[in-house]
């Protein structure tokens, strides 16, 4: 199948496709950020996307979530073409993401950050809020309780009324994942979740990622620089350089690939 390594287990190959990117190309004016990028991900997989700085990884995520409209190519999520849809519709279809540079609602409380992501599922309308109807009170209570459950899972329960921007960095990263999960996704895109973490924190993050994948039955596509994380948890990896895919395969195969070493050593060593 296009956009996948050949040697994955037949059990995995039998699963349905969740995300199918084909021939994705994007130019910023004359800068070619992504060129002929193809990846096919099946349900429940944990796939990595790596590559040196400026390779175009974040741009791929931005294209999937509708931040930019690609110059060419197709992105199908559960069979539906995403290109041209506004971001919020893409998110509501079941794709969630985090940001390389944390983008929380920094002046709002921790709980509000999660509640906002619940908004499309609030289940009450404008008239309910203005007249404080019974439905408003019930749904609002249920929403708050569910959000608190999320915060508990992420160890943020006792900080719910703190201002999000005041949390330490590691907790902000976790809150961002909690907020993404509150949108009730089936596909989660993580953009450098381990950035700025020390090895011990990375170990905790890996456990967290495994845990949420099982608990929420997620498919995860993640961008990461930190080889410790990528090599340990990804089932297979796509490597990009200068907007193009240069390698694809299981972690141990990719690690030994001369082209990958060359791409990284050209500018930076594999950490």
């Amino acid at each position: 199948m296009k956009g996948r390594p050949e040697n994955l287990s037949p059990e995995v190959e039998a699963r349905p496709v969740i995300l199918e990117i084909d021939g994705l190309t994007h130019y910023f004016d004359s800068l070619r950020a992504v060129h002929d990028f193809s990846v096919t991900i099946k349900e429940g997989e944990l796939v990595g996307l790596i590559g040196p700085n400026g390779a175009g990884k974040t741009t791929v995520f931005n294209l999937i979530t509708g931040v930019y409209r690609p110059t060419a190519g197709s992105i199908r999520y559960e069979g539906v073409q995403l290109i041209g849809l506004p971001s919020h519709e893409i998110i509501q279809m079941g794709i969630a993401r985090t940001f390389q540079n944390i983008r929380l609602f920094a002046n709002l409380t921790v709980l509000d950050n999660v509640l906002i992501a619940y908004h499309p599922h609030s289940g009450y309308g404008l008239a309910d809020s203005i007249f404080r109807s019974r439905r408003f009170r019930e749904r609002e209570k249920a929403m708050i309780e569910r959000s608190q459950e999320f915060l508990e899972i992420f160890g943020l329960a006792d900080r719910q009324n703190d201002i999000a921007g005041s949390l330490p960095y590691g907790l902000q990263r976790r809150l961002e994942i909690a907020r993404a999960l509150a949108t009730q996704p089936r596909l989660l895109l993580l953009d450098e979740p381990a950035a700025g973490m020390n090895p011990q924190e990375i170990d905790q993050l890996m456990e967290l990622i495994h845990f949420i994948r099982d608990r929420f039955q997620l498919t995860i596509f993640l961008v990461e620089h930190r080889m410790r994380l990528v090599m340990n948890i990804c089932e297979w990896i796509t490597v990009m350089d200068f907007g193009e895919i240069i390698a694809r395969g299981k972690p141990e195969e990719v690690r030994g690939n001369p082209q990958v070493i060359e791409a990284y050593l050209g500018r930076q060593a594999i950490r």
Partner: protein, 423 residues
């Protein structure tokens, strides 16, 4: 009793009722003369406009200079309804009310239809809605009014005169506010997409356009009774303290309940980080339109109140310079603070229009617009968050949800606890 007093809803309602009774008593006893009564009503009207602007700018982050345009629309539309009514002409009432209903129904239909397509261009959306609104009012003028105008007139006049007057006034206020809402919706569709800075400039343009149209109501527009730049006289003076109080409380309650709901949080998220809001599934365009329309409805309602207190409307009332008043008020009171807006709104009119008109030398008017910006500048330097920052009195504050009682969760072992991970 102490328990009851601690209930913020109860204390607030108690306080509001007390204010109502005291002011009503002062008016009835003649302590507040017409001048000071007018100042209070004016203060309420400007505060309503400012609350609307605070919703749009302070809570939603969209910089609007157009609220005086909607204030004017509400004022002139409701004034036209009552002006004609007292001259035995129900046409304005019928056209505004039924035209609004038809326009809203058609716009609703058009929006529902367009929602079936993905990625509809903004301009298409605007054109469809615009045509729907025009068609609605056209139908009202052309068919509804000739058909049922006389019947409605007869029916309303059959009521006892005191009741029919209050009812007409109510419909005039609602009509003016609705018209302001419809115009803001049509204007907001294409313009809110431009981003806050451009939106500010476009809304400023809107205020100026409205002013120019008001100057020419009898030439460009077919409303000879509004008398263009000479000013509209002969509007019934129907605004009373109970009406002011009811409208004002309605605005406060609607705004508070809106802000403290899921939609309100979505509105806030747009101010905080529009891109991030969009990427957690918030339809940011709708939130911006919503805040803008609700804020403009407040302005339209305030316009109706003001028009029927002044009994005289002049385009300069809605000109370029006075249109900055609501902005100054919310910056002073605190962007994102209803309490601050209410306090400064009344204070502003009380001080600058009430006291200073009486006690400052003549000619101060000319200097006002030198003083205001200077005061504003000082404010920006000394206390940029406004007098109140984001403070709210208890009734207007959102209760923070209590911490959840922790259950022993199997997750605890797997997930590192807070505090361990501090980079």
């Amino acid at each position: 009793m102490r328990q009851l007093l601690r209930n913020t809803n109860f204390t607030f309602i108690l306080g509001a009722v007390l204010v109502f009774i005291v002011v009503q008593a002062l008016i009835s006893l003649g302590v507040l003369n017409a001048y000071w009564q007018g100042i209070i009503f004016w203060g309420a009207a400007i505060t309503m406009v400012s609350l609307g602007l605070n919703l749009i700018y302070g809570f939603n982050g969209q910089f609007s200079l157009g609220q005086f345009g909607f204030y004017a629309i509400g004022a002139y539309a409701s004034a036209d309804i009552t002006y004609r009514w007292v001259r035995n002409d129900p046409s304005a009432l019928v056209v505004v009310i039924f035209g609004s209903i038809l326009a809203l129904a058609l716009m609703f239909g058009v929006s529902a239809f367009l929602r079936r397509f993905y990625g509809v261009a903004t301009l298409t959306k605007f054109l469809f809605n615009f045509l729907a609104a025009v068609l609605g009012f056209f139908l009202a003028v052309r068919f509804v009014n000739p058909a049922i105008g006389k019947v409605i007139y007869a029916a309303l006049n059959a009521l006892p005169s005191g009741i029919s007057q209050q009812l007409i006034f109510f419909l005039a206020l609602v009509g003016g506010a609705t018209l302001a809402g419809i115009v803001s919706y049509l204007f907001g569709i294409p313009v809110l997409e431009l981003g806050s800075d451009y939106f500010g400039i476009a809304t400023l343009g809107f205020t100026i356009i409205v002013k120019v149209l008001l100057d020419n109501t009898d030439t460009i527009l077919p409303f000879p009774e509004m008398k263009g730049a000479r000013g509209m006289v002969g509007i019934p003076k129907w605004t009373t303290w109970p009406w002011v109080f009811i409208c004002f409380m309605a605005v406060v309650l609607v705004m508070r309940n809106l802000i403290h709901s899921s939609t309100g949080r979505a509105i806030l998220s747009v101010r905080e980080d529009e891109r991030a809001a969009e990427l957690v599934g918030i339809d940011t365009a709708s939130q911006k339109i919503l805040a803008f329309v609700v804020g403009s409805v407040f302005a339209g309602l305030a316009g109706g109140i003001r028009a029927h207190d002044l009994a005289f409307l002049h385009p300069t009332t809605f000109g370029f310079l006075p249109s900055f008043n609501p902005l100054i008020i919310i910056v002073f009171g605190g962007l994102g603070s209803m309490t601050g807006t209410i306090i400064t709104g009344f204070f502003w009119i009380f001080l600058l229009e009430g006291l200073l008109r009486l006690y400052l030398p003549e000619g101060f008017e000319t200097w006002r617009f030198v003083v205001y910006p200077l005061v504003l500048l000082l404010m920006m330097l000394l206390r940029p968050q406004g007098l109140m920052g984001r403070y709210e009195i208890a009734f207007l504050r959102r209760p923070l949800p209590p911490l959840r009682v922790k259950e022993a969760s199997p997750v605890q072992e797997v997930i590192p606890q807070a505090g361990e991970v501090t980079a």
